[in-house]
């Protein structure tokens, strides 16, 4: 070969590693589509401010993992020899986002650490002040189970959709409107759908201000929306310390399968409320949750690889997730209406039932906004925070039931 030929040859070799060449291969168009979806997520996150803390990393993860030949989401490999009952490592390889996924997501570690941070940021005061609102957090979980039924039905009757009971449970949990809970459950029961489920969960949480108000107006009368609630009594520090321990104790006795989630949540809350571990609480709420959010977002986004994502299942998940969300909102509202009828002395504004889906604190803010539209002096925010955090507990409980029951029944 002449020198010129060698140069040309090298340029050709380089051409074989370009993204352009990759997109032109079989299935390459799919990567291009998913990169476009990634850019769309960035646009929605930045321009529309839809849950940007999660959707910016998820969008970037979707872009990076669909780059041909880059292998940024490649699984981890631990190189070494297996001798004397030990893997003697000398190297670790893999894509950097793939490593976040393998170590943090399949293990369930990242969602639990996020939950610690959420616990350290949560004020259960309004809930302790008005414990009845816990029931609204229960009612809103109907969405989970209706979507589960829908998923089972789709899996059975729609060709091209392959949901089994594990998948159905993971899809249903989108209705819990809690990102970490959804990711934790999906990582236990249905890893292949994790990407679509996480994206659906965070997208609908971001869309709460658009999805919920029409439902709220349809299911309540203007009079109901104007109901003023009694001011919440102040809660003592001791109550705030004992409440998370009470929930944890109940969970230990009745539902151990929910204790990783609720244990992490209540650990974070204790660390915040006890008043003697402020530096740990500070780190949980800032450095730790932020670091994990970055890595979790990228890792979740990396599950949006074209060959796994572009199929009918994903469409089904998106549709069912939306249904779950709407039904959860509705059942929350309906129970609040019912409770209002039976508690004359202490009126309950049915709008706060909608906050039972969780999506903290967005759903509570939406309640407040819809309430103010009807009566500019009726601030419902604190009243809605009760069902709102109850929704977090409610979906963790639902997750516990699914984790305990599905492997037995499937």
């Amino acid at each position: 070969m002449t020198f010129g030929q060698t140069i040309a040859n090298s340029l050709h070799e380089l051409w074989l590693t370009t993204g352009l060449f990759g997109f032109l291969q079989a299935g390459g168009w799919g990567n291009l589509v998913m990169i476009a979806v990634g850019f769309l997520l960035l646009y929605l996150a930045i321009k529309k401010e839809f849950e940007p803390l999660l959707l910016v990393p998820i969008g970037m993860g979707a872009i990076l993992c669909n780059i041909p030949f880059a292998g940024i989401a490649a699984h981890t490999a631990l190189h070494g020899e297996f001798i004397n009952g030990a893997l003697q490592m000398h190297e670790m390889s893999g894509g950097f986002i793939g490593m976040f996924y393998d170590f943090g997501v399949t293990s369930g570690l990242f969602p639990l650490i996020i939950f610690m941070g959420v616990g350290a940021m949560t004020d259960f005061g309004p809930l302790i002040s008005n414990p009845k609102t816990l029931l609204l957090g229960a009612a809103a979980q109907f969405g989970i189970f209706i979507a589960l039924l829908g998923a089972v039905a789709l899996g059975k009757w729609v060709p091209g959709i392959t949901f089994d009971l594990y998948d159905a449970a993971s899809i249903g949990i989108i209705g819990g409107a809690d990102g970490p809970t959804a990711i934790y459950v999906a990582s236990r029961l249905s890893k292949d759908l994790l990407g679509a489920i996480a994206v659906a969960a965070y997208s609908y949480m971001a869309l709460v201000p658009i999805i919920q108000p029409p439902i709220m107006r349809a299911l309540t009368t203007p009079e109901e929306r104007q109901i003023k609630m009694e001011q919440l009594r102040p809660v003592t520090k001791t109550e705030k310390i004992i409440f998370p321990l009470t929930v944890l104790a109940a969970c230990i006795i009745l539902l151990p399968s929910a204790t990783p989630l609720l244990g992490a949540l209540m650990f974070g809350n204790i660390v915040k409320e006890c008043g003697v571990t402020d530096r740990l609480s500070d780190t949980m709420q800032n450095a730790l949750i932020n670091i994990v959010t970055i890595m979790l977002g990228l890792a979740v986004g990396s599950k949006m690889q074209a060959d796994k994502f572009l199929n009918l299942n994903t469409l089904g998940i998106l549709a069912l997730g939306l249904i779950a969300f709407c039904i959860g909102t509705s059942t929350g509202l309906i129970l609040a209406k019912t409770m209002n009828k039976f508690s004359k002395g202490h009126p309950i504004n049915p709008l706060i039932g909608a906050a039972g889906v969780s999506a903290v604190p967005m759903a509570a803010r939406v309640v407040n906004k819809v309430g103010l539209e009807e009566n500019p002096n009726n601030y419902l925010l604190m009243h809605a925070m009760g069902p709102n955090v109850a929704g977090v507990i409610g979906s963790a409980v639902a997750a516990g039931v699914l984790l305990a029951l599905v492997p037995v029944l499937a």
Partner: protein
């Protein structure tokens, strides 16, 4: 399909039972606490993060002092 229905029924049952139990236990807990520990706690710590407090206060004081001298 059957198992889906079962999960749904058992699931909602447990969710409601569990949260109802929490309503009861939280109410009881609050009653006990308010009866036996009617806030003898130290005054609630300010919402400010402790770790940065010292530096912040130093700076705020410095700023106020600087202003006083003007």
């Amino acid at each position: 399909m059957i198992s889906g229905l079962i999960v749904t029924i058992v699931g909602m049952l447990v969710v409601f039972l569990f949260l109802t139990l929490l309503v009861v236990s939280t109410t009881v807990m609050s009653k006990i606490v308010l009866k036996f520990f009617p806030e003898p706690e130290k005054p609630a710590a300010p919402a400010v993060r402790r770790s940065s407090t010292d530096a912040d206060i130093a700076i705020a004081i410095a700023a106020v002092k600087a202003h006083t001298k003007q």
